[in-house]
Symmetry: C2
Subunit: 125 residues, 2 copies
DNA sequence: ACGGTTCGCTTTGCGATGCAAAGTAGAGCC
DNA sequence: GGCTCTACTTTGCATCGCAAAGCGAACCGT
């Protein structure tokens, strides 16, 4: 039993605990990136187009994001039509940026490992 | 009907279609990053420790990755013990690198949008 | 003014998926 | 010969993403 007690210092080296499940999801990552790029907020239909999502899909993900207090949904009326304005909450922005640093770490780890030879940006010759 | 026919040029700007679902998963992303960092391959227990995964979890994800032809599993015996050696397939390496370029794009989009002001990598030219 | 259509969004249903707990198999001790 | 440890696999559940259907309020033509 002595053996498995010795924790390699590399334990969890690649576990990336910081990859929040709520954020780390194609659709929601898209939404959040869109929102961070539009600090004034985005209307439901715009978000839908930017992220190439269906109505139902976007609705669901927004609910999840709101539940997690990452985005705020402001339902109002514009030109006598309902309009939901989606915005990143301050907390959401913070958590998203945190998440991003982890993502950067992943990219760096991988790029470094892949070797300077096979550069990512420049495709393999 | 004429209106919605006009596709904004920004349509899908943030949809990131390239984020392969098989790869874009916390656990599997960990596994793949570990593997790209260890071109000679990794044994099941090592991978398990590096990624902080349970046996069952790792087993399942490896099966998925193998199914997708991203990794190869070589089951053998070492010192009279079973040992599964996991390696990235050439195709797997390629697809992972592709995925990474998209990830980079996400990070870049977000970092730029978050504003050069807010840290992150803060080395935006 | 009223039927139909469109817009904006929500709900429902289902198939897929991640995860953990339990299960299997063989090697090494006692 | 049983006990245990390592190395995985399988099973079961609960969650989740997704698409299709639903819903209601405006607007439009007649």
């Amino acid at each position: 039993m002595a053996r498995s007690d010795a924790p390699d210092r590399d334990d969890g080296r690649f576990s990336y605990e910081g990859l929040d499940r709520v954020i780390h999801e194609k659709a929601r990552l898209s939404v959040l990136t869109s929102l961070v790029a539009h600090p004034k907020g985005l209307a439901f239909p715009d978000l839908k187009r930017l992220c190439n999502l269906t109505d139902g899909n976007l609705s669901r993900h927004l609910a999840v994001l709101q539940e997690a207090d990452l985005v705020s949904l402001e339902k109002g009326q514009v030109q006598n039509r309902p309009q939901t304005l989606c915005r990143l909450t301050p907390a959401g922005r913070g958590r998203f940026l945190e998440y991003l640093t982890v993502l950067e770490q992943v990219v760096r780890d991988a790029a470094r490992a892949a070797g300077p030879a096979s550069d990512l940006a420049t495709k393999t010759a």
